[in-house]
């Protein structure tokens, strides 16, 4: 499987709102831990090392995106 970089969220604005709301009232350190928990939960759900490695690379440098779109689906 390859990392899906095409739109996949049924309600993008709704998800974004909930993601921001997740951090309401937290300081920077607390937010960092919550984000880290979220990443670990999602990473475990995905599992596939190829998908995760591609996500790690794109997170660090989105400009390295090349052809993920064509492979998605």
């Amino acid at each position: 499987m390859t990392l899906n970089v095409q739109p996949n969220l049924p309600d993008p604005d709704g998800f974004y709102e909930r993601l921001v709301a997740l951090h309401r009232g937290l300081d920077a350190d607390q937010s960092a831990v919550v984000n880290a928990r979220l990443i670990l939960l999602l990473a475990n759900h995905i599992g596939d090392p190829a998908v995760l490695d591609r996500a790690l690379a794109l997170a660090r440098d989105p400009a390295t995106h090349r052809g993920d779109a064509a492979a998605a689906g």
Partner: protein, 547 residues
């Protein structure tokens, strides 16, 4: 400080060659009489190689130091006839518990299945271990020439030998060796004298070790705390040792003053916070250490072979120091014997470096990962560590990420040039692939309950499985070759070894006819579904680098 142990003093004896001034050449000289050097010497003696051991001191390890000895190291010492007293004296354990604050977040079992002779781990003070090894060496009589107060002060490698300059209370004298096994520890003088780069990563953290004598009701388990109430924001590790001595390891941070932290005025209040004000205890030994992860790129330098901490240094989390060191000499000595006897080419010793450098890299990578989890270096790393611990209390997946040290297991030599790869048609399960150390199993030999590993010994063995009703094969002179291969049959009902429980057949994915070629260090060299003497001989030749 209290002493539960009387340190022996071994007598210095002037050697014949120093007294007479006559230069001699020995087949093998081992430098360093720590656990690794002593194990190397015992293995030489077992293979019939006369060996000289040079050590700059005249007693055993001061302090409990290595403490944790793993199943594979115990199996090696079993082969050398001295694991029994270690296990009897040591504290057997296999359960590790990880706490955060006061809560248990994760628990692991290092040997969840029965049917192995040796336990997952024992804890034993290093001085007890060394004394057992020295006792075993003495029991072998003059096969091991153990020389105390002999410090190597110079080394000159030559094409066909190595010259060592040795300093004793009587001055300096030269001695030559065909081969030198350098087991002279993390600060190896031989490594330094040869100018070999020893590169890696130093960790900016300090740890306090306290050996405490007390009557306590902690179980025989490894307990590790992240951020406990008695030592906030740092980690603590607890191990039970012999004689009611407990090892407690406190992370101090980089800014701690090592000299000040060693004083009883600092150590005792720390311990009281942990153990409670009412628990009586005595301090036996205190040390403050920092550590590095580094290794040589090549463990062989001509006729000098590096082993143990002289070749590789790892963080203490995972007990991968002494345990990997004795696996070095386990890999080396049978090869050295074949080369010295002229049965195998010198190139066989290159495979010592290939196999053990790969194992050292594996140990180094594993222990560095543990260190990075235990002592996060960045804010993000710390956030992931805390997030992992938060999740692990409630969610099973996160427990696999908690890393308080991955405890020593043997690294398989999967890519070794000595292996004969499986034929696809043989369709073996992966577990015992060529390059893997042999699994143990209970078997009956001559009507007596015993163990598979004890029946392998330290020679080439063709381990042939009979299943329910197979017959012993014709071995076609394998046993009489210059490098003999001894056939050992394992059947469910009959054979040299009777596998009544079927565990040997299961662990080796064996059916009637399945045959494994086992190396003298009890690693799998090759395996087939049938017994074919020509293929066994070819695989044996490949395993000694002569094809």
């Amino acid at each position: 400080m209290l002493n539960t142990y009387q340190f022996p003093t071994f007598p210095y004896v002037q050697s014949e060659e120093q007294r007479t001034g006559q230069r001699v050449r020995k087949p093998v000289i081992v430098v360093g009489a720590g656990p690794v050097g002593l194990t190397a010497a015992l293995d030489c003696a077992h293979h019939g190689l006369p060996v000289v051991v040079l050590d700059d001191n005249d007693t055993v390890s001061v302090g409990s130091r290595a403490v944790c000895y793993a199943k594979r190291a115990l199996e090696i010492w079993d082969r050398l006839g001295c694991a029994g007293p270690m296990v009897d004296k040591g504290v057997v354990w296999k359960i590790g518990k990880v706490f955060r604050d006061e809560r248990l977040v994760y628990q692991f079992d290092l040997l969840p299945e029965p049917g192995h002779k040796r336990p997952a781990f024992i804890n034993l003070q290093q001085y007890h271990l060394e004394e057992t090894l020295i006792g075993r060496a003495a029991a072998l009589g003059n096969r091991i020439d153990l020389r105390w107060k002999h410090r190597v002060v110079g080394i000159a490698p030559a094409a066909d030998h190595v010259l060592l300059e040795v300093e004793t209370p009587d001055g300096v004298f030269p001695i030559e060796a065909d081969w030198v096994i350098a087991c002279d520890g993390a600060r190896s003088g031989l490594r330094e004298a040869l100018g070999l780069p020893f590169e890696g990563q130093a960790f900016q953290d300090r740890f306090l070790i306290a050996d405490v004598v007390m009557q306590a009701d902690f179980p025989a388990e490894r307990w590790f705390w992240f951020d406990p109430p008695f030592h906030r924001n740092q980690s603590v590790l607890l191990h039970m040792q012999a004689d009611n001595v407990w090892r407690i390891d406190f992370q101090l941070g980089w800014d701690a003053d090592p000299e000040e932290e060693k004083t009883p005025e600092r150590v005792i209040p720390r311990l009281k916070r942990m153990l409670g004000a009412d628990t009586p205890f005595d301090l036996e030994w205190v040390s403050v250490y920092q550590f590095a992860c580094r290794q040589l790129d090549d463990f062989r330098h001509g006729r000098v072979l590096f082993a143990g901490d002289a070749a590789h240094q790892v963080s203490p989390f995972g007990a991968r120091g002494a345990n990997s060191g004795v696996q070095d000499t386990d890999n080396l000595v049978w090869k050295l014997k074949l080369v010295l006897d002229g049965h195998a080419p010198d190139a066989l010793l290159d495979s010592y470096s290939t196999e053990r450098v790969a194992a050292a890299r594996d140990n180094l990578r594993t222990s560095t990962r543990s260190t990075d989890f235990i002592t996060p270096k960045t804010a993000a790393s710390r956030a992931f560590r805390d997030a992992t611990l938060d999740l692990a209390e409630h969610l099973p997946f996160a427990r696999t990420l908690v890393n308080s040290g991955r405890l020593s297991r043997p690294t398989p030599y999967r890519d070794s040039p000595l292996n004969t790869p499986d034929a696809d048609a043989d369709a073996f399960a992966d577990a015992m692939a060529p390059g893997t150390n042999c699994a143990d199993a209970p078997v009956t030999r001559d009507g007596t309950a015993g163990w598979l590993l004890d029946a392998l010994g330290d020679r080439f063995v063709a381990l042939h499985f009979l299943g329910d009703d197979g017959a012993a094969p014709a071995s076609d002179g394998l046993a009489d070759a210059d490098i003999p291969v001894t056939t050992v049959t394992v059947g469910r009902r009959g054979g040299d070894l009777v596998d009544a429980e079927g565990l040997a057949h299961a662990r080796y994915d064996a059916a009637a006819g399945t045959t494994y070629l086992i190396r003298p260090d009890q690693y799998v060299a090759a395996r087939w579904r049938t017994f074919d003497p020509a293929r066994i001989a070819a695989a044996r030749d490949r395993a000694v680098a002569r094809t």
